[in-house]
Symmetry: C2
DNA sequence: TTTATATAGTTGTCTAAACAACTATATGCC
DNA sequence: GGCATATAGTTGTTTAGACAACTATATAAA
């Protein structure tokens, strides 16, 4: 019997992740007010490409904790928006390398500022130590449950 | 300038809530293995009805942090599964009161055990103090961003 | 070298979230 | 009573997540 046997009633807030959905909603709202017409899911993919351009779809799966069909469709939509391009790899013809367009590069500066601002709104009144602790707990939960995608 | 100005790169884990989706996936998997054929979203609605039967859809919205269309469709699906029934309120004919069926009552004992077990899997190696701290941070984030639905 | 197996990506189906627009009932005010 | 407004719920559309089934290419074993 683990020492942290939980009262059943405490389940809810952990399961629903209402804090993360609240952040997501606020970020989406801030994008909209700045006339940035992408979803936060699309943004989260671009985010990794801004760090390193030319990732494969599989690398995007690993980076964003999504499965392959999800990334296929996110890349589909980003391609429709002309924000990325699929380029077949010459080394391994199974792979698509995903490259940012110029339009996507322009988005980076603008949205990074909005994201930073959103996070500061979210974390007002929370200390760095508390944030680190919370992140550590969430990471531990993730690691406990991680199963191969 | 808040004292917790965040490195931009730290955004990701907060925004995606991968820990909460990991818990959701594991709970769904545990349901499936026990032949419980409902989604965790449906379960989260039933959870509140087990605490108090006969809530209105609006009360379910408040309890589950969902908007009205989401609850309409979750109740639609729960009704198709014959787990709840909509009963028009006599006091206020705009309202549907949602009541559990006998079938849903049977699910409670079984799924509560699975949920408790899942949470213990998730929180292995995390102390109660750490859990409390993490919950406090997530609650604070939620409160910082809470806006009327 | 051919055959099995693993990996990268796609497609189909179902469920759900977000948002806008809508209907119907209730309430408050003149 | 009649009109404005608020509240409860529904419907349509788009995007996305989960899962299974699929194609195509690459790798390893026989």
């Amino acid at each position: 019997m683990p020492n942290n046997q939980f009262k059943r009633g405490e389940l809810y807030s952990f399961i629903t992740g209402k804090a993360s959905t609240a952040i997501a909603r606020r970020l989406q709202k801030n994008f909209k007010e700045a006339n940035v017409e992408i979803t936060i899911e699309q943004w989260s993919v671009l985010y990794h490409l801004w760090k390193q351009d030319g990732l494969s779809q599989q690398q995007l799966c690993d980076a964003t904790f999504r499965d392959k069909p999800s990334i296929t469709r996110l890349v589909d939509n980003l391609e429709k928006l002309k924000l990325v391009k699929r380029v077949a790899s010459k080394d391994d013809r199974r792979m698509n390398m995903i490259y940012l367009t110029n339009e996507a590069q322009v988005l980076q500066e603008q949205t990074m500022g909005l994201a930073s601002q959103t996070l500061n709104e979210a974390l007002e009144g929370v200390t760095i130590e508390q944030i680190e602790m919370a992140k550590m707990v969430l990471q531990k939960v993730y690691d406990n449950l991680a199963n191969p995608l």
